[in-house]
Symmetry: C2
Subunit: 253 residues, 2 copies
């Protein structure tokens, strides 16, 4: 249930009053974020969060109606990390979009579980602030409304896709380090596939180097955090080039 049931999104309801609550939503989402970062999104259970808060499982349900609500809190905390501090938002539209994109990607990469979880979470106040900030960034383009939304959508798609890609790569790299024998099994499978002759371009890409002797480059370029970030930067500028020329945006250059 993506919309959270009958009472509206959790942010439209006040935090519980009367008897002073032991926890704030920030504390709860912080604990949940921490668990997800340490042990993966799958480790975030109502019991676990409650335990780490020092409470009984069912006590959580006074702060959160369902687990979806908890996930919504987590996602909104993450969107908070994606916000560019208001004073740091450049005036030029291109610089502003770049700043927002960098920060958004950084937040998503920091919490690789987010993209899966975010998929059907309700949008919260920080998501709204993110949208507002994006609109502010493109306010100076002189474009009409539809074109502005197009521009934002294109850049957003690239940023989220890039974060997805980076998250996968890093997760794969981590899994490979944790379980080296599985990685050689995967490589063996890949080599066997190559030997069918159906993959000439991949063969050419590897250029005769046996990945078993160079396990650091599983299929192509290095996959460390820095390379992926540089790749993201190159792609982002290319995307911005493309939309700028398509939409005929005046630029200060």
């Amino acid at each position: 249930m993506a919309t959270g049931g009958n009472g509206g999104p959790i942010w439209s309801r006040p935090e519980p009053g009367a008897r002073r609550p032991r926890f704030t939503r920030q504390q709860i989402s912080a604990v949940a974020l921490d668990i997800a970062d340490r042990d993966g999104f799958g480790a975030v259970s109502m019991r676990r969060v409650a335990t780490e808060l020092g409470a009984a499982t069912m006590s959580l349900y006074h702060y959160v109606r369902t687990k979806d609500d908890l996930v919504a809190l987590m996602d909104d905390a993450l969107m908070g990390e994606a916000l560019v501090p208001a004073t740091e938002l450049p005036a030029d539209w291109r610089d502003a979009l770049t700043a927002i994109a960098r920060r958004t990607r950084a937040a998503l990469v920091r919490h690789p579980w987010a993209l899966a979880a975010l998929q059907d979470a309700q949008f919260g106040p920080n998501a709204m602030r993110h949208f507002e900030q994006s609109l502010a960034a493109v306010a100076g383009t002189g474009l009409d409304t539809a074109a502005r939304l197009d521009l934002l959508s294109i850049v957003d798609c690239y940023v989220f896709g890039s974060a997805l890609h980076t998250g996968e790569s890093l997760q794969r790299a981590a899994a490979a380090q944790a379980n080296p024998e599985a990685v050689s099994a995967v490589i063996a499978f890949g080599m066997a596939q190559l030997q069918t002759g159906q993959f000439p371009h991949i063969e050419a890409l590897l250029g005769g180097t046996d990945p078993r002797t160079h396990p650091d480059q599983a299929a192509g370029p290095p996959m460390d955090q820095d390379s992926l970030e540089q790749q993201f930067e190159r792609g982002l500028q290319a995307v911005l080039d493309g939309v700028a020329s398509r939409l005929d945006i005046p630029h200060r250059l």
Copy 2:
């Protein structure tokens, strides 16, 4: 466990032999795909798949070592849908990439659960074919290896991000139709937020129209399948423009 345990990826192991098995992997993944499409990825359980196959739960474990393996089969079936038939792949790099992008997006949009599931699934034969096909598409660009991979990565990020975006939108739209009262609660929350005055650009975007009287446009432009597809096409061409000019690719135009 993204790497699937000790025995290597499922594709490196033969289907069970000796006594003739009742099911093929294709049947199994087809049933699982069908369940996911009808009732969501969360409805795909070992019990459910087994039941719909007409078998007992534990019998599935003779075809699949863990549920992760089942998900891997599902993802690979999906990547099969994303393949462009070999005879239909255009010679021009830009047309070829466009064809691959369209087909990939279509497959991902058809199965909105895929992006979440795909995140940590092992790559299979069809993913490999997809990669091979992408390499074939950019073979005629004259770029060196690193630039080719950059190009592919940028387009792929945009395609996956766009599919993520589209999937979210459609899912939200479906949820809204299934549960209209929740939607008005969300709108009420949004209006209340607007009234804080912290969102001048969003207010300007709505242009004074109260979404409660025009609930079809929750926040901005229409979100139907066609509009999203057109938006994707515009964005894709913009992205291709950008990489083409950045990478200085000769084009037949």
